[in-house]
């Protein structure tokens, strides 16, 4: 027992430092490790083309996950992003096929997404419906509306200018990747450098304290659902352009991947802590796993199992980390 007491001060300090750095760099470390393993398993993995593939695959989920991060930071959840994505994609494609031009089509998609987001925000912030229930309702309503809108048939024959949003390239880099990068950068900066960003953290960290500090809690809560809807709309446009047609059944269960990316990225479901950078790594990790398992020829059934396990593991590590405090 005595030796234990003597030994404690010597070892404890470095261990503490190690844990602190694991907190911050744990996920990137796992990400790099996974990439290394993949690089040794498949020589194709580390090629420019494959990485462009991974990033393009990740871009849709990444855009959704950025909006989801805002929602989850306020202790909320948005289950309707997959349905909103389909609805907005279809709206946008319809406008595009009417010959209104690219700007009108993209705006229509984002506007449709933002409107549905406003309905979510109104239900949660003003009617005090729990976010899980409100957005679960929207998940079904928006999907139904998508089928009603075009009688359940896809919109095809999209103009080339529209398709460029999905399959075009700017130099060597695909347009979806650039859109994703711009979205991530903007919303990272908003969260980090603006008063609004601080309010989002404060509302999720302690709603009552936020209110006494003079923060418009309702406005902030409302706004995060609008952001999530807006970005789901944008993702819908990009997806429609990438698949060269807007399908009413697009984006089913995409909300789960978005939530997974946020949670793996270290944002707490109980609100108040997390970051866009974490979410980026979370989304990339999912992308690399999907890609890697594909390259290794693992069947997509196993891929789902693997993804599920990794999500649970990521949260488990988070729980352990907090318990040690």
């Amino acid at each position: 027992m005595n030796s234990k007491v003597l030994a404690a001060p010597v070892t404890a300090a470095p261990r503490n430092r190690l844990r602190l750095s694991l907190d911050r760099f744990g996920l990137p470390l796992v990400f790099i490790l996974l990439c290394l393993v993949m690089a040794f398993s498949s020589e194709y993995f580390m090629t420019w083309r494959n990485w462009m593939d991974i990033l393009r695959q990740t871009s849709i989920n990444g855009i959704l996950a950025v909006g989801m991060t805002y929602v989850i930071l306020t202790k909320g959840i948005d289950l309707s992003v997959g349905s909103i994505l389909a609805f907005a994609g279809l709206c946008s494609a319809l406008v595009a096929t009417q010959g209104y031009g690219l700007l009108a089509a993209v705006s229509a998609g984002m506007f449709a997404g933002a409107m549905l987001g406003m309905v979510n925000g109104f239900m949660v912030a003003n009617l005090s419906i729990p976010p899980f229930v409100a957005t679960l309702g929207m998940l079904s309503v928006a999907r139904g509306m998508t089928f009603i809108l075009n009688d359940g048939s896809p919109v095809t024959d999209l103009p080339d200018s529209f398709l460029a949003m999905g399959i075009g390239k700017l130099g060597p880099i695909g347009v979806p990747i650039i859109i994703f990068a711009v979205v991530a950068l903007i919303f990272w900066m908003v969260l980090r450098y603006t008063t609004y960003g601080r309010y989002v953290y404060a509302v999720g960290g302690n709603e009552k304290s936020a209110r006494t500090s003079g923060i418009g809690v309702r406005k902030v809560t409302f706004s995060v659902y609008v952001i999530s809807g807006l970005l789901a709309g944008l993702a819908g446009v990009v997806l429609a352009a990438r698949t060269t047609s807007a399908l009413p059944q697009a984006g089913v269960s995409y909300e789960l991947d978005a939530i997974a990316a946020v949670v793996i990225g270290g944002t707490s479901l109980s609100g108040g802590t997390g970051s866009i950078v974490g979410t980026l790594f979370g989304a990339l990790l999912i992308g690399v796993i999907n890609n890697g398992l594909n390259l290794l020829g693992v069947s997509s059934y196993y891929q789902q199992v693997a993804k599920g396990l990794i999500i649970v593991l990521a949260v488990l590590i988070d729980v352990w980390r907090k318990k040690k405090r």
Partner: protein, 495 residues
Amino acid sequence: MAPPLLLHAEQVSKAYAGVPALRDGRLSLRAGSVHALCGGNGAGKSTFLSILMGITQRDAGSILLNGQPVQFDRPSAALAAGVAMITQELEPIPYMTVAENIWLGREPRRAGCIVDSKELNRRTRELLQSLEFDVDATSPMHRLSVAQIQLVEIAKAFSHDCQVMIMDEPTSAIGEHEAQTLFKAIRRLTARGAGIIYVSHRLSELAQIADDYSIFRDGAFVESGRMADIDRAHLVRGIVGQELQRIDHKVGRECAAATCLDVNGLSRDGEFQDISLQLRQGEILGIYGLMGSGRSEFLNCLYGLTLPDAGSATLQGQPLPTGTPAATIRAGMSLVTEDRKDSGLVLSASILANIALSAYKQLSSWSVINARKEQALAQSMVKRLQIKISSLDLPVESMSGGNQQKVVLAKCLSTQPICLLCDEPTRGIDEGAKQEIYHLLDEFVRAGGAAIVVSSEAPELLHLSDRIAVFKGGRLVTVSSDTALSQEALLSLAS
């Protein structure tokens, strides 16, 4: 022969990550006595108590219970041996009844799985009767007052045949009146031969209830003895480690004639009725009242957290906005809320973000935060309030209670208010930090501000305020400028 010791702890120590939290914890508890455990924040009391309860494991030292050495590896083991603790944060299950809460996990059963409610309620009534607690066994927990919930917790401990009861700040959330009920209950427990370890920052209360005392300071035992042999000043000296400068903050304070805040017939149904009072510049107005007298509700309404049903208020001649704290802050008013963890701080956020939380309008242009201004504000507040920090980026939850309270004050002062509302500004913090906060409030009004301070502690108000308003049952009974008033007189006005 002296009566046998119920509990005897010696040289108990514990270090976290190499930093000693407790170096030498000692305590001797006699059967049938109340033992006050005193010390400032960080003195090691909490660590010592959690070791006694088996929540944390000690590094060294010995603990004897009834002369037998014990080492509890978890709280349930301590409970089984007859050691129970009632903490600051009570956690009943709100929608279950008193009886169900007391026997949770040990319900009398029929056929091994069906709860025998009749037997359950009968046992509970018996238990409550034997302790003479006035609580209904079948009432759901969420209908009870904080004091009643504490009585239930005590009853629960005694349903385990408890011999040693640890009470950590049991009166921090209840009023004077309910505290007396609790003290009566404590005396009944000691009459049955139980020993009670009692922790509280309210020193006047200790003189009233405790038989013995022990003082911890900086993680080590300092002294112990009979409460009757010492006075308050001796206790404070022991806790603080030096003669505490008790400055009379009011000396030389001149209230200007100008009215700062004028409240006219403010009412809110079911909370407070027809409150009219004036607050002058440079004045501290104390508000005294029992739990449920409407004092906190009055402050919350004034600040805009709730809407008044009737009446109005003006701040420096301008009508005070209602219903939006943001507008009230802009008008020049701030509120230090009653419960810093519940409604004052964002615990998971950094010290920096908490201090700046209300002031971001001034710290930003086009809603982009000026990081240099933000840092400068936080630094100046840390200096002005003497907040002890190692880094502004650490989360607030890593700080002690006194320092957390200072962060709340810093947040409120950072919007440069002319009128400061403080609801229990010194609740649950140690004597040294209390004095610092008194000093700060005094400085604030001397610089031309005005403050309203709500407190359950009469001596605090008598010491601090120029006038005292007494609330009772939602009404303003009187405003007295006689600060030579005795505590007893205040209490009788309020009850």
